[in-house]
Symmetry: C2
Subunit: 104 residues, 2 copies
Amino acid sequence: MSKQFDQVSVVKQANKYFDGKCISYNVLFADGSKKSVGVIFPSSLTFNTGAPEVMEILGGVCKIRLAGASEWTTYGAGQSFSIAANSSFDIETVELLDYVCHFG
Amino acid sequence: MSKQFDQVSVVKQANKYFDGKCISYNVLFADGSKKSVGVIFPSSLTFNTGAPEVMEILGGVCKIRLAGASEWTTYGAGQSFSIAANSSFDIETVELLDYVCHFG
């Protein structure tokens, strides 16, 4: 996996969620698609989706529970999980998590 | 000022400094130059420089004291300050700071 995105635009100002527990930057591609690169500090959070998302974990470990699920699943570096549009997921982290979020 | 950098590469994994008080992402330009986009959480920190840097504040306010200086200077959104190579600066923030660091 490439360590970087090439030939992209990056928005200079960060997105801040949950009082700074999640910081991300938007990355815009020539084909009109969008991803974000971000970190999540140790926390228990619930994220809502608009578009469908694929969360790709680059570093750290998280426990994920998708909307409607009772089970938690653990994901670490190199793993991904998908979230449906207009849904949500619970995430627990105990160390800083690096991720890429793929939209659409 | 443009809200984004265009035709760049962005490194997917964040730089983490000072136990996560500073998070930044490297942005690489076609001419070989490098910048970083980042945030600093409320804190009092000392940064060391290798290459000379220009710190451009996009959001928030900080107090800066350059190496060897006795006075603090306040910088806010739209302002910049320069740091010499192989030097340092103290920075105090009481709210989340958004910045771009220009190297070289």
